[in-house]
Amino acid sequence: MLTLHPQVSVRPEPFGALLYHFGTRRLSFLKDRRLLEVVRRLDGATTVDDALSDVPVPDQAAFRSALATLEKTGMLQ
């Protein structure tokens, strides 16, 4: 179960969102507003499948790969 790292701050933007990790000082971009919604749904109790349930199937693979990158860079844990 994934959730945002407590040291990550999220700033919504017209193109999606900016994520900043105060621990690693790393900046990431969410390039889709819907991806921001998915990230917000990840509360540590929701599965990735559930969080993605509203996302059209053709887009899900790209979203999964974005989430994997966010996990790898410590934005999600």
Binding site: S9, F22, R25
Partner: protein, 390 residues
């Protein structure tokens, strides 16, 4: 719309901004981009600084790059750092090391929200002190040692790349490794006192190539603050946004609250407003200058160049302070168009509009023996007997 286009048209709040807290400095570096030295009596008060931080928090500006002058000489420096981090505004600050003693290092090591950049412009005392002043190398290295001893993780060594130190890139890397630090290389701009020494200190074309190759080889392991995007015209783009962020994603607040388009553009031509009058948000979102910068930019003379997409015409400040048109090539254009532009035609180099340099220099300050500042305007300003053999 591509991500980079969103940035080019400006965000509601900067991603980060540079905040020079004071023009006061114990050093008198030859190339100081803010012509620092003496404190400005109009400096923002502690309360005014805190009000700016409150605004940055509301705007969700993730972090500020604090500099100066030497920011740590402000008596309320640590108070402001603590206030910022307590309000979700992270702090990276640049220092020459003068106040980073053991106690300061331990205090820094205890915080997750503060990052430290120690400035060095030579990997040896000889090269560094010629530019930054006698003893400045030892000052910086001592600070780095304190940080390491205190267990501070991943400090930064910040280097302005010059003709005199490009040959030391590997030495800088070794130095950084020795202190568990990350190397940060940035570009010399002809801003502030940098305008006086740029001709003698900016890297040669061959050195620019050497730097580019070195950066490509070291990838994301070396930070650049995105400052070398003009080098992308050598080949593939370097890591980073490769975009001039001035007034679009970055800006500068100076010690008296003036907001400029970028840290390298302290000049009336790039002054967007003052935080004292209406607050920072008002300046960022409503200034005419910033609105103009967020319009689509014309490539001008560069638009027909096949490399324009990668270098975007280079650095606005570098062009402005060398007297080149803003829609023409960067003075260090790696295709050579900048050199041609510098050599041809009459350039009018803009007069500086703010100077806080120490009058008469500082003890042990750098002496520009080989770095002559400018030629005499008229021959008779030189000794009329010069060159005559009697």
């Amino acid at each position: 719309m591509k991500l980079v286009d969103h940035f080019a048209t400006g965000l509601d709040a900067p991603i980060c901004l540079t905040w020079e807290l004071t023009y006061a400095c114990n050093l008198a570096c030859l190339h100081c981009l803010s012509s620092s030295g003496r404190r400005d009596p109009r400096e923002l008060s502690t309360q005014e600084c805190k009000a700016v931080i409150d605004e940055l928090q509301r705007m969700q500006v993730f972090y500020v790059n604090i500099g100066g002058g030497e920011p740590t000489v402000r008596p309320d420096f640590w108070e402001l750092v603590d206030y910022a981090t307590a309000h979700q505004v992270g702090v990276k600050f640049s220092t020459n090391g003068v106040r980073i003693d053991r106690a300061a290092a331990e205090r820094l090591a205890a915080s997750d929200y503060v990052d430290v950049q120690v400035s060095l412009d030579g990997a040896t005392a000889e090269v560094n002190d010629a530019v930054r002043g006698v003893g400045s190398f030892d000052l910086a290295v001592t600070a780095l040692q304190h940080l390491q001893d205190a267990g501070f993780k991943d400090s930064k060594i910040s280097v302005v790349c010059t003709r005199q130190n490009i040959g030391q890139l590997d030495l800088f890397k070794e130095l950084a490794d020795r202190f568990g630090a990350t190397l940060r290389l940035t570009r010399l701009r002809p801003s502030g006192r940098g305008a006086d020494v740029w001709d003698e200190m900016h890297p040669t074309m061959a050195q620019q190539r050497e730097l580019y190759d070195w950066l490509v080889a070291h990838g994301e392991g070396v930070l650049t603050g995105d400052s070398f995007f003009h080098l992308s015209a050598f080949g593939s783009a370097l890591p980073g946004l490769n975009l001039c962020g001035a007034g679009r994603v970055v800006c500068l607040i100076d010690p008296v609250g003036d907001v400029y388009a970028c840290p390298f553009a302290i000049h009336d031509a790039f002054l967007a407003g003052n935080v004292r009058a209406a607050g920072f948000q008002e300046v960022w979102q409503r200034s005419e200058l910033f609105a103009e910068l967020r319009q689509p930019q014309s490539g001008g003379a560069c638009s027909s160049c096949q490399h324009y997409d990668s270098c975007q015409g280079g650095c606005m400040a570098a062009k402005f302070f060398t007297g080149l048109p803003l829609d023409g090539p960067d003075p260090e254009c790696v295709q050579g168009y900048g050199e041609l532009a510098l050599a041809s035609g009459v350039r009018e180099v803009p007069k500086p509009t703010g100077d806080h340099s120490h009058k008469g220099g500082v003890r042990g300050g750098p002496v520009a023996l080989t770095l002559s500042t400018r030629r005499p305007d008229q021959l008779c300003e030189e000794n009329p007997l010069a060159g005559l053999t009697i």
